[in-house]
C-alpha cells in the first residue's frame, strides 16, 4: 500500500459524519470528458470522498495495431485537441529511437521552438480563459462575496507592472469576454499559435513534423517572424506574471488555510522537454545521459527529494494498473518486450506489454467507474506503486528542474532552490528578472502560479533556441531531415512533457508494422481512479483533502474550491462530481444545480 493512501482511509469509512453526495458532470473549462464524484461533509466544511470518471472511449491503442509505424505521429496527434503536437513530438522521439535515426540539429531547434510556443499558447489560454474564470469577479461574487469585498479594498502590490489598481480590478479583468485581460489573453494565445504554426505548420495537429526531422523551410525569415512575435509576448508576460502573483497571493491572505485546498503529498513526475541535439542521439542505451541534457530536466520528486533524473529508471518503473477501469486485464496476455536493450526486465504491466481490450459496462462507483486506467510508478526502494501527479505540468517541471540544477542557458538557470528567468528588454518595458522558488506545498494555487512562471520559462528558453538555430542557418547547415529505413523488428519509447505534464509513447514494431502502441499522457496519471491496491488517483486524492471555503451552503453550493482544484491539474478530458447526505448513507442525491434534471429521461 502506498503510504500516501493512509490518511484517506478514515474519511472513507467514517460513518458518523453527515455527508452530501454531489455531482458536476460534465466539468467544463477543461479539455475532454472528466467526472468528479464527491461526498461532502458540510458541517466540517470538507470533501470526504471523491471519485474521478471519464465517459469517453476512443481506442487508439486498438486501431493503431497493424498500421505503418511512420504514421504514428500523425495518428497520435489526434489524441489531443489542445496539445496534439506534444503527442506528435513524443511519437517522433519514439519513432526516431525505433528507426535509429538522428535528425539534424536544426530540426531539433525547430521542434523545441514549436513546443515552446505550444507551452506559451496553451498555458496562456488555459490560465486566463479557463482557470481564470474561477477567480474572476463574477465567480468570486457568487461564491465568496466576503472575499470580493476584501479584494475591492486590497491594493495590488504589482499595480505599477500590470496596471490594475486593486485585486478586484484584476478579478473584473478576468470576467469572461467582458474582461479586458480575458480578451487580451485570448489575443495573445493567437499570437503564440502563429509562432507555433511557423515551426510546426498547423496548430494543433502539426503538418511539418516527421520521424527524422521536420519539413519546415529554415531561412532567416522563419526566425525573424518567430522572434518578432516572441518579443511581443514577452512584453505581455511582464504584466501577466506579476498579475497572477498578486491574485494567488491574495487568496492565501484573504482565506487563511487556503494552502490546504488541493494539497497532496509531493509526488511529482516530469519526463523532460526540449532535446539538446548536441547530446541526444535517440538511442535507448544512452537515454539516461541525453535525457539529463534536456532543457527541462526529467525527474521524479518524492516528498521534496529528487528521486531520479534517469529516464531509463523512470521507464522501467512505469506500471499500468487496473482496478476501477472498463478494461479486461492483460496479466496473462502477450508479452511483447521481455527486456529492454540494456537487459533490464520489463514488467508485464509496463506500457510496452499492455494489451488494451475495452469492456464497456454500467458505471458503478463501488466497482468500475471510468475509461481511465491507473498508471503508477513502481518505487523499487519502497515497494510502493506511487500515484504520481504532474502538478498540471509546470509545477513538476519546475520542481524537478530546480532540484536537478542542471539547466543553465543564460536566459534560464536552475539553482537547486528554484529557477531564475531573465526576460530581456522589450519595446516598452525594461528587462525583468523572475525567480520561481520551490513552494512549501503541492497545492491548487502553486500549480496555478507555476503555470504563469512556466510561460516565462518557455519564452526565455525559446530565445536560446532561436540563437542556436540561427547559428546553424548562418553556417549554411539548413538541412532539416535525415533519411531512415523502418526496421522489421524494433522497439522505441519517447519521453516528453505535454503541456499538462509527463507524456510517454511506447512502440513495438513487428514485420514492419505497429504491433503495440501505448501513449501515456499526463491525464491518465492525474485523473486515474482507485487502482487495484485501492490507492486513489491524484484528482481524487487532492479533492478528498480539500477544505471548503465557499460561503454558499448545500442548496446553492457551486463547489468552487473543488473546481479550482480539479482545474489546477489542467485536465485534458471532460468531467463530473456526485454527493450523499447523512451518516455515510445516501439519503439524497443532488445534482448541482438541480433544475431541469427530470427532462432527459
Amino acid at each position: 500500500m502506498a503510504p500516501d493512501d493512509a490518511p484517506r482511509k478514515d474519511a472513507m469509512t467514517d460513518g458518523s459524519r453527515q455527508l452530501v453526495e454531489m455531482a458536476w458532470d460534465p466539468i467544463t473549462r477543461i479539455i475532454g470528458s472528466l467526472g468528479i464524484h464527491t461526498k461532502i461533509d458540510f458541517a466540517n466544511r470538507q470533501v470526504a470522498e471523491c471519485r474521478s470518471t471519464s465517459s469517453i472511449f476512443r481506442g487508439y491503442s486498438v486501431f493503431m495495431k497493424g498500421k505503418d509505424p511512420r504514421d504514428a505521429h500523425q495518428i497520435t496527434s489526434r489524441i489531443c485537441g489542445i496539445c496534439g503536437d506534444n503527442h506528435a513530438t513524443c511519437a517522433v522521439y519514439a519513432q526516431n529511437m525505433a528507426f535509429g535515426v538522428v535528425p539534424p540539429a536544426l530540426a531539433e531547434w525547430i521542434i523545441n521552438l514549436g513546443e515552446a510556443a505550444e507551452y506559451m499558447f496553451d498555458h496562456n489560454l488555459f490560465q486566463d480563459n479557463l482557470v481564470g474564470v474561477d477567480y474572476c469577479e463574477q465567480m468570486v461574487r457568487e461564491t465568496n462575496p466576503g472575499v470580493l469585498a476584501r479584494a475591492e479594498r486590497t491594493a495590488a502590490p504589482h499595480a505599477d507592472r500590470h496596471g490594475y489598481r486593486t485585486i478586484a480590478d484584476i478579478m473584473r479583468a478576468l470576467n469572461p469576454f467582458t474582461g479586458v485581460f480575458y480578451r487580451e489573453a485570448l489575443q495573445m494565445s493567437r499570437l503564440t499559435r502563429e509562432m507555433f504554426c511557423l515551426m510546426e505548420g498547423r496548430h494543433v495537429h502539426p503538418s511539418t513534423l516527421y520521424p527524422g526531422g521536420v519539413g519546415t523551410v529554415a531561412s532567416p525569415q522563419l526566425f525573424t517572424e518567430y522572434t518578432v512575435r516572441l518579443m511581443r509576448y514577452i512584453e505581455f508576460l511582464k504584466r501577466s506574471v506579476p498579475l497572477h502573483d498578486d491574485l494567488f497571493d491574495f487568496f492565501y491572505e484573504a482565506l487563511p488555510g487556503y494552502e490546504a485546498v488541493g494539497r497532496r503529498r509531493v509526488l511529482l513526475a516530469c519526463w523532460g522537454a526540449f532535446q539538446n541535439p548536441d547530446r541526444c542521439d535517440f538511442t535507448y542505451a544512452r537515454m539516461a545521459e541525453w535525457g539529463r541534457e534536456m532543457y527541462v530536466t526529467p525527474g521524479i520528486v518524492i516528498d521534496g527529494q529528487l528521486r531520479t533524473t534517469d529516464l531509463v529508471e523512470i521507464n522501467l518503473g512505469i506500471r499500468v494498473l487496473l482496478g476501477s477501469s472498463f478494461y479486461d486485464d492483460w496479466q496473462t496476455g502477450e508479452t511483447f518486450v521481455r527486456q529492454d536493450p540494456l537487459g533490464n526486465p520489463i514488467d508485464q504491466r509496463h506500457p510496452w506489454n499492455q494489451t488494451t481490450t475495452p469492456r464497456p459496462q454500467k458505471r458503478d462507483f463501488a466497482g468500475k467507474y471510468t475509461w481511465v486506467m491507473s498508471p503508477r510508478w513502481y518505487d523499487a526502494a519502497s515497494g510502493a506503486h506511487l500515484a504520481l501527479d504532474t502538478g498540471g505540468g509546470p509545477l513538476a517541471r519546475f520542481w524537478a528542474t530546480a532540484l536537478a540544477g542542471r539547466v543553465d542557458i543564460g536566459h534560464v538557470r536552475a539553482t537547486g532552490k528554484g529557477v531564475e528567468i531573465h526576460l530581456p528588454k522589450t519595446a516598452l518595458a525594461p528587462p525583468l528578472d523572475l525567480e520561481w522558488r520551490i513552494p512549501r506545498w503541492s497545492n491548487t494555487l502553486e500549480r496555478n502560479r507555476a503555470r504563469s512562471y512556466f510561460q516565462a520559462y518557455a519564452a526565455a528558453a525559446a530565445l536560446h533556441f532561436v540563437e542556436r538555430a540561427l547559428v546553424e542557418v548562418h553556417a549554411g547547415r539548413t538541412k532539416t531531415w535525415s533519411e531512415f529505413r523502418v526496421p522489421d523488428e524494433a522497439i522505441g519509447c519517447g519521453f516528453h512533457e505535454a503541456v499538462r505534464g509527463a507524456l510517454s509513447h511506447h512502440l513495438v514494431i513487428r514485420q514492419g508494422k505497429i504491433a503495440n502502441y501505448h501513449p501515456y499522457p499526463p491525464t491518465p496519471w492525474n485523473a486515474s481512479p482507485r487502482d487495484v491496491f485501492g490507492t486513489p488517483g491524484p484528482y481524487e486524492d487532492a479533492v478528498q483533502n480539500t477544505p471548503i471555503f465557499e460561503e454558499n451552503g448545500p442548496d446553492t453550493f457551486k463547489g468552487i474550491d473543488i473546481m479550482r482544484t480539479v482545474r489546477s491539474f489542467d485536465p485534458c478530458m471532460p468531467c463530473g462530481v456526485h454527493m450523499y447526505l447523512g451518516n455515510g448513507k445516501e439519503i439524497a442525491v443532488r445534482h448541482s444545480p438541480t433544475f431541469g434534471a427530470e427532462l432527459l429521461r
Binding site: 495518428i75 434534471a597 432527459l600
Partner: protein, 331 residues
C-alpha cells in the same frame, strides 16, 4: 433583436481540437460574434463545455431545455465522431452528463437523437463529426461515424437546412467561424440558404483543391519534385495528396495567413476528406496516382524550366545602357 443559442457538444469521439481551433479564428473571432462586433448579427449565446462559465447541471440546463422543446431556436454543433452504441452488451462509448433517473451517463447518441429534431440547424465541426475521421479508422472497436451517416445524408432540420459539414482535422479556424457567421446571417434573413456541395461542405470554402491554391504548384508545373523534407520544392513525391484533396488551407494559411500544409513543407494527408484517414495511409508514401501524373508532367516541366531559366538569367541583368561600374567620385 433576434436571438439564438448555440449548443455545442464535444462529447463525440474527438479531441476538442475544433473548439480550440475556433478560439484561434480571427475572421471573425469568437469575440466578434459573441460581442456583436459585426453588423446585423443576432444576439448569440454560446454553450460550449470548454469555454462555459457554468459547470455540471448548470451547464446542461439549456441542453435539457432544448430536449424538452423549451429552448428555441438553437444551432446544434457536434464535435467528434459518433459511436455505434449497439456494438456492445452494456455500458457506453461516449457520454455527457448523468441521467438522474438511472445514475448512468447519458450517451452522446441520446443527446443527438433528442436535440436534432428541435434544432434550427445542425453543424458538424471537424472531420470526426462530419465523416468519422481518425476515430473511424479501420479496426476501431466503437464503429463510429460522422453526422450524415448517423442522421442520414438527406436529413433536413425543421427549418429545412441540411447538415452543414465543416471538415478539417482540426477544422481551419476561420473556415468554421465563417460558416457559423453565414448561418447566423441566414437565420436573421440576411443570407439565402447556405450553399453546400454533395459532401455537405460550404461551396465557397471547399471549391478548390489544395494543389490549386498551393504556392508550390509552380514547382510541380516545372517538374521539380523533392525527395527530402525541408525543401521549398513540390513535395508530392513525399506523400502529398494536395492535387486531389478539397481544401483551402494552402491558400488561406492556417491562421492569420500563417502556416498550412504543403505550402510550408508538410505533406497533405487529406484530413478534410470523407476518405480520411484510411484512403491516404501510409501518409509518407507517394500517392499511387502521383507517380503517373508526375511522369506525365516531367517532359513539359523540364522544358519550360530550362526555357524560363534562360530568360530569367537574361532578366537578372540590367539593360546594356545602364552603368555596370560605379562612376568616378570626386575626392
Amino acid at each position: 433583436m433576434a436571438e439564438i443559442d448555440i449548443l455545442w457538444i464535444t462529447a463525440g469521439l474527438g479531441c476538442d481540437g475544433d473548439t480550440i481551433a475556433m478560439t484561434a479564428a480571427t475572421q471573425p473571432s469568437l469575440e466578434d460574434v459573441l460581442l456583436g462586433a459585426l453588423p446585423g448579427l443576432p444576439t448569440v449565446r454560446l454553450h460550449n463545455p470548454v469555454l462555459a462559465y457554468a459547470n455540471g447541471e448548470a451547464f446542461l440546463a439549456p441542453f435539457r431545455r432544448a430536449v424538452a422543446g423549451e429552448l428555441d431556436p438553437f444551432i446544434l454543433v457536434v464535435e467528434g465522431s459518433i459511436p455505434n452504441e449497439r456494438l456492445k452488451q452494456e455500458g457506453f462509448w461516449a457520454a455527457m452528463g448523468t441521467d438522474p433517473a438511472t445514475g448512468q451517463p447519458i450517451t452522446t447518441c441520446e443527446w443527438i437523437d433528442r436535440l436534432a429534431p428541435h434544432a434550427w440547424a445542425v453543424v458538424g465541426a471537424g472531420t470526426c463529426a462530419t465523416y468519422g475521421g481518425i476515430h473511424a479508422m479501420e479496426g476501431n472497436p466503437t464503429g463510429c461515424m460522422g453526422l450524415p451517416d448517423y442522421l442520414g445524408w438527406r436529413w433536413r432540420s425543421k427549418a429545412g437546412v441540411p447538415i452543414v459539414c465543416v471538415p478539417g482535422c482540426p477544422v481551419q479556424p476561420d473556415n468554421f467561424m465563417e460558416t457559423l457567421l453565414y448561418l447566423l446571417y441566414q437565420y436573421v434573413g440576411l443570407s439565402p440558404m447556405i450553399p453546400l456541395d454533395e459532401a455537405l461542405r460550404p461551396t465557397w470554402l471547399f471549391s478548390q483543391t489544395v494543389h490549386e491554391g498551393c504556392d508550390r504548384g509552380g514547382y510541380y508545373e516545372q517538374g521539380d519534385f523533392t525527395a527530402e523534407y525541408g525543401s521549398k520544392k513540390c513535395i508530392v513525391k513525399l506523400g502529398c495528396w494536395g492535387p486531389v484533396v478539397v481544401c483551402n488551407v494552402p491558400k488561406r494559411g492556417w491562421m492569420n495567413g500563417i502556416g498550412g500544409c504543403p505550402n510550408v513543407g508538410g505533406v497533405c494527408i487529406g484530413c478534410t476528406m470523407p476518405g480520411f484517414p484510411d484512403k491516404f495511409m501510409p501518409f509518407m508514401n507517394e500517392p499511387p496516382g502521383a507517380a503517373i501524373s508526375t511522369s506525365a508532367v516531367l517532359m513539359y516541366g523540364r522544358t519550360v524550366r530550362a526555357l524560363r531559366n534562360f530568360t530569367k538569367s537574361a532578366l537578372d541583368k540590367e539593360p546594356s545602357w545602364r552603368r555596370t561600374t560605379p562612376p568616378e567620385r570626386t575626392p
